[in-house]
C-alpha cells in the first residue's frame, strides 16, 4: 500500500496547493509527519478519494461517450431543445470532470499540463473533492434522466449500480441513493402525468424495483466500505506505529547532531599572531569528523582534526569519547606524539575491535617559530609557505588509532613564518567523487590552497575548499563527512 518516507514537515505540502498546481493530497506514500499528525478519519478519507479518482475518470469517459450517443440521437430524431441540451450536458459535464480529475491527480504532478485554465475549478474540486464527487454523480443522473422522462427507465436502475465502484461513507451513499429514489419518485409522477402508463403500473414496475435495487446497492456498498475501512485502518495503524518509532529515532538523531555540533569549536581563533577557522559538513545527521583547537601556555595553539571510519551514530559516539580524552589531555598537547599514544591506548582498551580513527595534531609554537605535527593515519597536512607560495604535504605516514593496531607516533617539526598557511582536512575532501567517479584528489586540493590570496582569511579558505569540492561532486553530493581546518600565521 505504500512506504514510509522520512521527509520533514513542510517539505511536501499536505494540501497540494503549495506546489503551484492544485492536487489532491497524496496518501499512498505518507511522510512520517503525516502519519503521526493525520487523524484516522482524515487518512481514510484521503485514501478513499485517491482510490476513487481513477474510477471516476473511467466512469466519466463512459458517461461522456454515452452523452455523445444520446446527443447524436436527439439531434438526428429532431427532439426538443430540452432534450438536446440535456444530451449536450451529459457529455460536457463528464468531459469537464475528467479533465479536472487529470489536473488534480497527484500521480501526474510531475508531468506538464496544458490545462492551467482549469485551475480555479480544479482548486475548488481538490479542496472539496468528496462534495464535488457527490454533486457530479447527482447532476449527471439528472441530466440523463429528466430530459427524456419516458425513456429514462434503464438509467434509474443502472445509475445506482455505479456507486458499487465508489468508496464513500455510508451516510454519503445514503444521501445519493436517497436522491436517486426521490428522482425515481418524481419520475413516476411525471411519467404518470405524461400518460405513459397507469400510476399503479409505474409504481409497481419502476419505483419499487428502484427502491429494492438502491437498498441492496447501498447495503452492499456499506459492507464493502466497512471492509475497506477495516483493512485500511489496520494498515494505517501499523504504519503509524513504525512512523512513531522512526520519528523518535529522527528526533534522537537530531539531538545527537546538535550535541555533536556543540562539540565543535564555536567561532574562530584570532589572537593577533594566529587565526584559525574550521568547517565540518556531516554526510548524515551525525558525522564521523571532528576538529578542535586548544590555546596552550606560552603563545602555543594546538589544532586537531579527526575522522572515524564510517559515519553515523556509532562514529559520533566514538568521537565523543575521543574528544573527552583530548580535553583531559589538552595540557599535554605540547607533545603531540605522546598524546596520540595515550589516545591509542584508550582506544585499544575501550573501543570496538574493528574501529579506526585517524587523528592529526598540529602544534603551533610562536616562540620557537615552528609547527610540530603528529599524525595517526590522518591525511597529510598541507602547508603553504609565505616565502615561496608553494604548497607541500607535510610527511605524516602513520597508522590510525585502532583497537587491533599497534604503532608508534612520531613528531615532525617544520619552520613557521608569518603568512604561512596550514590546512588540515579529512578524506571526505579529497575522496569526493565527481560525476564520473574520479576523486577530487590532493592535486586539486593543493591548487585551491595555492591559488588563495596571500592575505586570505582562514574562514574564506575553508569555504573556498568546500565550495570547490561541492562543485566537483555536483548533484551527487560529497557523500562522506568533509572537514577543513585552516590556520594562518599572522606574526
Amino acid at each position: 500500500m505504500g512506504e514510509i518516507t522520512g521527509a520533514r514537515a513542510g517539505v511536501r505540502p499536505s494540501t497540494g496547493e503549495g506546489a503551484g498546481r492544485p492536487l489532491l493530497p497524496r496518501i499512498d506514500r505518507p511522510t512520517i509527519d503525516e502519519l503521526t499528525v493525520l487523524s484516522e478519519a482524515e487518512a481514510l478519507r484521503r485514501r478513499m478519494d485517491q482510490r476513487n479518482l481513477p474510477v471516476l475518470r473511467w466512469l466519466s469517459v463512459g458517461f461522456a461517450l454515452t452523452g455523445i450517443g444520446l446527443w447524436i440521437a436527439a439531434a438526428v430524431s429532431r427532439q426538443g431543445t430540452l432534450r438536446v441540451l440535456g444530451s449536450v450536458m451529459t457529455f460536457v459535464l463528464p468531459a469537464l470532470f475528467y479533465l479536472v480529475l487529470r489536473r488534480i491527480d497527484p500521480s501526474r504532478s510531475g508531468r506538464p499540463s496544458r490545462l492551467a485554465a482549469l485551475d480555479p475549478i480544479a482548486r475548488a474540486v481538490a479542496r472539496s473533492f468528496r462534495t464535488a464527487t457527490l454533486g457530479y454523480l447527482g447532476l449527471q443522473f439528472l441530466f440523463l434522466v429528466f430530459p427524456r422522462v419516458e425513456a429514462s427507465g434503464p438509467w434509474l436502475y443502472l445509475f445506482p449500480l455505479v456507486l458499487v465502484a465508489i468508496r464513500i461513507s455510508v451516510t454519503e451513499a445514503a444521501v445519493l441513493h436517497g436522491f436517486y429514489l426521490a428522482c425515481s419518485f418524481v419520475w413516476t409522477i411525471l411519467g404518470t402525468a405524461a400518460g405513459a402508463r397507469p400510476a399503479e403500473d409505474t409504481a409497481d414496475q419502476t419505483f419499487l424495483p428502484s427502491l429494492v435495487l438502491n437498498v441492496i446497492v447501498w447495503a452492499g456498498g456499506a459492507f464493502a466500505t466497512w471492509r475497506y475501512r477495516r483493512q485500511f485502518l489496520a494498515y494505517w495503524r501499523d504504519l503509524r506505529e513504525r512512523a512513531r518509532d522512526s520519528a523518535r529515532m529522527r528526533d534522537e538523531l537530531e539531538l545527537a547532531r546538535r550535541v555533536q555540533l556543540s562539540m565543535l569549536p564555536r567561532g574562530e581563533i584570532a589572537d593577533g599572531w594566529i587565526r584559525v577557522a574550521g568547517t565540518s559538513v556531516p554526510a548524515t545527521e551525525v558525522g564521523g569528523d571532528y576538529f578542535d583547537w586548544f590555546r596552550l601556555e606560552g603563545d602555543r595553539v594546538a589544532v586537531v582534526a579527526g575522522d572515524v571510519a564510517g559515519h553515523g551514530l556509532a562514529s559520533g559516539l566514538i568521537l565523543s569519547g575521543l574528544r573527552s580524552g583530548l580535553i583531559l589531555l589538552a595540557p599535554e598537547l605540547t607533545s603531540p606524539a605522546a598524546v596520540l599514544e595515550k589516545l591509542q591506548r584508550m582506544v585499544r582498551e575501550t573501543a570496538s575491535h574493528r574501529m579506526f580513527v585517524t587523528l592529526a595534531v598540529l602544534l603551533l609554537d610562536r616562540a620557537r617559530g615552528e609547527a610540530v605535527l603528529a599524525s595517526a593515519g590522518h591525511p597529510p597536512i598541507l602547508r603553504r609557505a609565505a616565502a615561496t607560495g608553494e604548497v607541500e604535504q607535510l610527511p605524516a605516514a602513520s597508522l590510525p588509532l585502532g583497537a587491533r593496531l599497534r604503532g608508534t607516533s612520531r613528531e615532525t617539526a617544520v619552520p613557521m613564518a608569518p603568512g604561512d598557511l596550514f590546512v588540515l582536512y579529512t578524506d571526505g575532501v579529497y575522496e569526493a567523487a565527481g560525476p564520473d567517479g574520479e576523486p577530487f584528489g590532493f592535486e586539486r586540493l593543493s591548487k585551491v590552497v595555492a591559488s588563495a590570496q596571500p592575505e586570505v582569511d582562514p574562514r574564506e579558505l575553508c569555504d573556498a575548499i568546500l565550495s570547490a569540492v561541492r562543485s566537483w561532486s555536483g548533484a551527487g553530493g560529497v557523500g562522506d563527512d568533509a572537514t577543513v581546518v585552516a590556520v594562518r600565521v599572522e606574526g
Binding site: 571510519a309 573501543a351 579506526f356 599497534r406
Partner: protein, 181 residues
C-alpha cells in the same frame, strides 16, 4: 557543564564499560582470518611491462622501505606476495625487519581465473595477529572484497601509494581504511 560535555563523558563511560577490550595482538582462532590485514599494491616498477621478472624502480624500492618503517611495529606475523619480483621486493623490507619469509600466494584459482580465494584460504590456515598482502592493481580490489570490504575502490594504474588497513570480522563484514604512504 555543557550538554556536549555530559554527552562526551557518558559516551566515554559507555565505551569504557560496555565494550569488551581485546588483546591487541591475540592470535586468531583456527580458521579465522587475521584480525588485521594490510593490503598494498606493489610499489613502482622499473619498466611499464607486466612480466613477473620486472623489478622495482628506485622510487619503488624507497616506497617499500617506507612501508616497512610504517608497519614494523604493527605486529605483522606473515607477509604475502604474488610470484612476481616487484611484489616480493615490495614485501621484502618488512619481512626482513620482522624476521619473516615472504610467502608466495597464487593469484588464480583452480579454474585459472584471477581470484583472491587461494589467498584467503592461506590466510585462514595461517591465522596470526596481522598480515601484509602485496598484490596488483587488478587483484587488490578482489582481495579487499574477499576480506569483506564493501565497495572496494579501483586502483588507477599510476597509483602505488595506497595502503588499505582491513579489520576483518567473523561474520564476513570488514572495516577498512585507506591510507597513503
Amino acid at each position: 557543564m555543557r550538554a556536549s560535555g555530559r554527552f562526551g563523558i557518558v559516551a566515554l563511560a559507555l565505551l569504557l564499560a560496555a565494550v569488551p577490550s581485546a588483546p591487541p595482538a591475540a592470535a586468531s582462532p583456527d580458521g579465522a582470518l587475521p584480525p588485521v590485514v594490510f593490503v598494498v599494491r606493489h610499489a613502482e616498477k622499473s619498466t611499464p611491462a607486466n612480466e613477473p621478472p620486472v623489478p622495482l624502480s628506485p622510487a619503488g624500492s624507497q616506497r617499500a622501505e617506507r612501508l616497512a618503517a610504517l608497519l614494523k611495529d604493527a605486529g605483522v606475523a606473515s607477509v604475502w606476495a604474488t610470484d612476481t619480483v616487484r611484489a616480493r621486493d615490495t614485501a621484502a623490507p618488512l619481512a626482513r625487519e620482522r624476521g619473516l619469509d615472504v610467502r608466495v600466494y597464487p593469484v588464480r584459482d583452480a579454474s585459472g581465473q584471477v581470484s583472491a580465494a587461494p589467498l584467503i584460504d592461506a590466510l585462514r590456515k595461517d591465522g596470526g595477529a596481522a598480515a601484509l598482502v602485496v598484490g596488483h592493481s587488478n587483484t587488490v580490489p578482489k582481495i579487499l572484497a574477499a576480506l569483506g570490504v564493501a565497495n572496494p575502490p579501483d586502483i588507477p594504474d599510476g597509483e602505488y601509494d595506497n595502503l588499505f588497513v582491513v579489520s576483518t570480522g567473523s561474520t564476513g563484514g570488514a572495516v577498512a581504511i585507506r591510507l597513503r604512504y
